[in-house]
Symmetry: C2
Subunit: 353 residues, 2 copies
DNA sequence: GTTAGCACTCACCGGTTGAGAGTGCTAACA
DNA sequence: TGTTAGCACTCTCAACCGGTGAGTGCTAAC
């Protein structure tokens, strides 16, 4: 028993129906609504096979079937391979995006807004990646017996600090000399480079291994934070209209994930160079949204820096629509940032003071 | 029958209990948990009176009583008058707010974060008000027979545009001459001034009354938008944990209100000069949150500009706690922005490019 | 290989019932 | 006159129950 053409057509019908209704779909529904020229009994047999193959789940014995993550995966791969997706509907995107202000952050926010209202899911827009900040100074300040405050100043005036625990007791003088030594060695390097250099340094001044390890974590965190600017989010409330999230506790979990923008951004952030990414259910790697899918696309600025746009929705997402809307939006943003790069990206202090 | 001391004490007990439990409170509960030295029957009589006076509502005949908005009002007024509120707990606020980055926007976001996690409600933080943008140019462009695109350029490079409907048909030339004339008259003025000037101008060139009226609205909208910078929001998902918002549709309404930051900001924005504002239920004037209360406080920068912080929660809010936390946070922000005003408020283009 | 038929399973709905909480009223009491 | 005990009454809520319908798996016939 393998996956033949007919099985695939039936599976597709099931997915289509389930995406529409969110109700487990039975054999009769398929044989009637989607005319396959087959009786419900035959469909039943095929469905049973599909379940055995892992494409369908059955909530309970006398309910219809529900597509599994594996099924959606197949469905989406097939869809992408067939080239049926064109990024159509640029008109809608243009219409919404056009007539407004032109600050970078506003564009980002608006893009998220438009994406969410066109798809009815939750949209996230990340600004183009930024060049890596370079360390200027690093300073350790004693706070209590076993914690120190670490302050990093980078070029561009970004300051970040945090309290980290230390094991041995270190007095102010010791900390100061460590600070000097670290500043000397790390100054001029990016945070990523610094992180890579720490183990070496730790080897040399091995009294403070634990401290330096902590420092590595802090660098990574700081870098992530510095990397991303304003994250645009739209339509978080849309999620509440899907029966998947009628459970208050689940909804709460989802929303608090959305609220922690840093976490959200690192989830959405595009890995690799492909035009689209589709992550389905558990593929997202985030337990809170294990029954969601994430579709992302990229756009790029004239200077070659890339930004990410993404849509989060239930696994029974209208993938084709989402992908096509994302495509259109990606193009639009690329165009917008491509043509007027300089203007858009540096709003100066104009509206800040 | 008036409001005597005893009635007030009973009312207070009812409110305290209801704030804690969200369950209609009965006479027996009061006589047992809060020892008043009165039997439940007596309390019952008093409660009946309180209901007649409009301080209590009864969901149905055999349920306990629930405080009305009027009751909360009395409760809060009394609390404020008694001076029982000191803005204590600055330690907690300081602890959370201290050890972090120092960009204006980050501080705002973090303040919202801290407020929401200390109160378990939804927090909103508005940045200090900005100086009014001044009009440089105004341009009208025909779009269709009965709509024109209006573009305003202000100092600071802020551009805003929008399509507005017009009645009579106007050709490009006519629009251009109107644009020139308007630019001439309005250039150099703030948007607020311009709004005030429009009626006069309309009187002079009275063919286009409707157009100018529309323009007024547009100015106001633009001003509002320009006025506010980044709005910090924290703990929107907290609201879902209260039984008041277990209804999905209601929760959705609340969240989409929170999502439209402009609207939210204008709701929160502080009117007047008082230290605190407490708006209870219908007093908020926003139907979507007619069973919420909003507490706001202000902070100010060295340059005398004011920002607003606010907390939104169910009407059965822990007012005293919220007010004290807001007080502490207000002080903290004032201090933060007061001492290092210049630095904090103009992050330059540093992290933008 | 396909289909009709049939027995079986279960979620879901609507009505019923009993328990519990709370009230309002009345009458007795201090 | 204010307070309290007692009691009948109301109404929600949760549990229970049986019927209904959708859907399945299996078998036997085509």
């Amino acid at each position: 028993m393998g996956m033949d053409e007919r099985k695939f057509r039936i599976l597709q019908a099931i997915i289509d129906d389930y995406i529409l209704t969110a109700v487990p779909v039975g054999s009769r529904t398929i044989s009637k609504k989607y005319d396959m020229g087959l009786s419900s009994a035959t469909i039943r047999n095929e469905m049973s096979d599909l379940e055995e193959l892992g494409y369908l789940d059955q909530p309970h014995v006398s309910a219809g079937r529900v597509p599994s993550a594996k099924a959606y995966r197949l469905y989406v791969d097939q869809m992408l391979a067939s080239g049926r997706i064109r990024s159509d509907r640029p008109e809608a995107v243009v219409a919404h995006l056009n007539a407004r202000t032109h600050q970078m952050e506003d564009v980002i926010d608006q893009a998220a807004q438009v994406l969410s209202s066109l798809t009815n899911y939750t949209a996230v827009v990340l600004p183009p990646t930024k060049p890596q900040p370079i360390i200027r100074t690093l300073q350790l300040v004693p706070v209590t017996q076993n914690s120190v405050l670490v302050v990093v100043v980078t070029d561009g005036g970004i300051v970040r600090d945090s309290v980290i625990p230390v094991s041995g007791s270190l007095d102010a003088d010791a900390l100061y000399s460590i600070s000097r030594s670290l500043t000397e060695q790390l100054s001029g390097h990016t945070l990523a480079e610094a992180t890579a250099m720490l183990p070496q340094i730790a080897a040399r001044m091995r009294d403070n291994e634990r401290l330096l390890a902590q420092l590595g974590g802090f660098f990574e965190e700081t870098e992530e934070h510095a990397q991303r600017g304003h994250v645009g989010i739209g339509g978080a409330s849309n999620m509440l209209s899907y029966p998947e999230y009628s459970d208050a506790e689940k909804a709460r979990g989802f929303l608090s994930l959305i609220e922690t923008r840093d976490k959200l951004a690192s989830i959405i952030a595009h890995h690799g160079d492909v035009a689209f990414t589709v992550r389905i259910g558990p593929e997202t790697g985030v337990p809170e949204i294990s029954d969601c899918s994430i579709v992302t696309a990229t756009y790029s600025t004239r200077s070659g820096r890339q930004g990410t746009i993404g849509v989060i929705g239930p696994t029974r997402m209208q993938y084709s629509r989402v992908i096509s809307v994302l495509g259109a939006m990606g193009q639009q943003l690329s165009q917008l940032f491509g043509t007027q790069d300089a203007e858009k990206e540096s709003p100066k202090g104009s509206d800040q003071t």
